[in-house]
Every structure is written in C-alpha cells, then in structure tokens.
Amino acid sequence: MSEDVMSDEAIDWAVRVSEPAFEDWEAFTMWLEADPAHGEAYEAALAASEAADPVLASRPAVAQTRMARTPSRRWGWLGAGSTALAASVAGLIAWTSAAPRTDPYLIETAPGSRQQVAVGGVKILINGGTRIWLDHRNPRVATIERGEALFDVLHDVAHPFTVHVGDTELQDVGTRFDVTRDARQMRVAVAEGAVLFNPGREGVRIDAGKALSIDGGGRTAELQPIATQTVGGWREGRFAYVATPIATIAADLTRSTGIGFAVDPGVATMPFTGVVSYNDDRKAFLAELGPLLGVRIAPREGRWIISRTRIDG
C-alpha cells in the first residue's frame, strides 16, 4: 500500500474517531492491528491537525476546559489535552445540560502596561505582556495564558478562587499571591495566606514566604523561601532575585517595563542574586543594567540583546 493511500486512510480514521458519537472501536482496533505503520500514520494525522490549534482558536482551549472542569465533576482525567473531546464525551452523559456554563473573556496587556480588575471578591493587578482569561459566569476562576498577575483574594470557603495555568490549578486559602507564566516556566509566590497547587493531584501547599517554580516540562520544581514584601514588587519596579537565571529576569523586565529584551542562549541560565530597580528612566536603567547583572546589553533591530560580556584584550 502506498504511503499516500495509507495516510488518507489514517486521516479518515482521525476525523471519524474524533467525532463525538463514534462507536466503531472494534473496526478501528482491527485497522490498527493490520499494520504497525497504520498507528504511526494515525498519530501523524492527529499531530498535524493539533498543530493548527493555536492558529484556529481565537478563544483558545479555555472555553472547553471550563466546560470540562465543572466544580463538582473532574473531567481532567479524560485527558488534559483532549479538551474538545472531553466536551464531546460530556454529551454522552444523560444529565449534562446543553446550556453553556461558561462565558470567558480575555484581558490582554502590552508589555510595560498594567490593568487592575476586581471581580467576585478578588483584586487582580495584571502586569504587562499578559493574557488572562476571566469568566462572566464564574467570577472565582482565572486562567493565565502568559504573563503575570498579582492576586488579592477574599477567601470564601464555599467558593475557593482558582487560577489555572496550563494544566495546573492553584487554589487560594485566603491569600495574596503572584503568578508568572512564560515560555520557560511558571512561578507562584505567596505573600499572605497559602495557595494549594493542584489540589486534586499533588496537593502541594505553598505558604506565605514561599515561592514555587516549575519548568515548562513540569520536570523540575523548586520551592524557595522568599521575603513576603518582595511579592508583587514589580508594581514598584523592584525585582528581587536569588540565583535566578538571566532568562527569567529578562522576561520579568520585558513584561513590566515594555523594554524588549532578548537573551542569548549563552547567558540564559547564568544565575543572578540581587535587586534590580526600575524607575521609568529607561536610558539610565539600560546603562546600569549590564554592569549590575554582569552581562552585555546592546540594541539590535528594536530589541535589547543580553549576552556575555566581551573579554577585551
């Protein structure tokens, strides 16, 4: 069988199996068993179609994720990434109501700008370069797609406030905490009270005076002590670091100041300990930042590139 014909067959199965009412599992199993290449072609078709998701979704998977995670039911197990399928499987359950339970809306800020919102007993100060989803029908949930926000939560035992960050869930226990998410990692720093990390799964409790950092792959997690007054310090242009990689600092600074930093891989993981201050004097800031961090900062094509200092002979 030619590769093209097999690919077409695989595509056919990929489309059909994704249908909510698909029930021909026996036939699907037999097709998969007929040739190991069938399963590979099937996964290739799935991966290819999933690659288009970021471009398709003007409202990203959040809407379906909310539907899948109704308060008293936990659909996450159906497959955290299979959001569209989770929503369609819900249709198989007799008691699921047809009315939409969510009405999400997006707040997006440009780097260097901020926005404050107050919903349902929560004050949210949103930093720059941030995309955060809230919900008209559920004021006790927020989803951080990227960026940073400082949360001041009035605790309600019956309706805990939950922040979703990718596949993780943070639940307040009467708190003030800051959440950051960028391409490399997620951080939660707690100033007051405590936050439960993934209450249904790991259930790690992050108390005031602690910060949790998790890398993008979820493979390494670090719980560090922090000074509570440094939480949300970005509001005053103060950034306190302990052995923090330059790449993280650059992301923080771009988000908060609007200055477009880019980091050369050669210095990305270089650790810095100290405090960076920004007081709106861009010129002075850029002149002093390099020596402070021990790096070279030079403009190129509208961005500020952070790289290793030159060793001048």
Partner: protein, 187 residues
Amino acid sequence: MHGPGSQGLQTVFMAHRNALLRFLIARGAADAAEDILQELWVRVEATAVGPIQNPAAYLYRAAENLMRDRHRAERQAHLREQHWAEVAGPTDQGVSDAPTSERSLIAREELAGIQRLLRSFPSRTQEAFRLHRIEGMAQRDIAARLGVSLSTIEKDLRDIYRELVTVRAQHFRSETGDSVNGGKDGS
C-alpha cells in the same frame, strides 16, 4: 468516592477488559498497556458520573484520550530537546499563546506557515475545520450549521488534514533530515 453509576460501569469494564487491552496495544501502548488500563480504571472509578448512555464506548473514548495524551507528551519531550523556547517575544495577534504546551515548541515560522495554509482555503472550509477541532462538533452538525451537505464537510476536513500532514512531514524532513513518522522517505 464511588459514583452511583460505578457499579454498572465496573461490570462493563470487566466485560471489555481484554478488548480494551487489545485496543491500547494496537494504539502503541506496548508493555505499558496493563499499567495504562489500570490507570484508566482508577480514574473512571474516582469520577462521580451519572447514567452513561454507552458505557463501553465511554471506556474506549477514555482509553483513546489517554493514548493521545501519551503520544503528545512524547512529542513534546522530543521537541523540547530540539528547540529553544523563546523568552520574551511579542504577542502575535491571532495566535494563541500557551507557552508550556506543544504550541511554544513549534517554531513561529512553522505556525506562520500553518496560518498561511489555512487561509488559502475557502472560509467555509476553515470554519468547518475550526468547528471540528476546537468545538468537537460532529460533521453532520457542521454540515447543518454551514448549510452544506455532509459529504461536502467530509471532503473539506480531509482536504485540510491532508495538507497539514504534508506540511508537517516536510517540516520534519527539513529539520531533522529524516522522517519522524517512520515511513519511507518520500519523493
């Protein structure tokens, strides 16, 4: 912790246990199939569910989702080893931005290429694909929504999938010098 329907579901699970195992193996679970089946049951049991119209299909669907997640996780791990995720890039209009998912690991050029590809299709086809992928809508319902025949939608979706598969295969060939999909090198 046990939902009202879980006794009946357990009976169905036991009746279909071998078939489900066979399915998982066919989907590429290999030696992990028994473990995955166990994981499936633990999760099904822990979830409080109401009456299910087709319990067997429900279990297969859960198994399929688990296998999709596993394959996706493998792909992400592979991509992470190959790409350097951008630190603080500007937000692109119209492109969703979830950094720790596979999305950030697909280079921006590849995403731009996919965007161009999708836009080369008529808007009805694009909408059909969006309803299919993002809203999980049945083809029959998509056809009704867009006012065309079911066979039109079936063709539309397969056309887009075919193009996306081609683009992805080309991307991997140019990136790694060989096909990730294990097939013979084409052309």
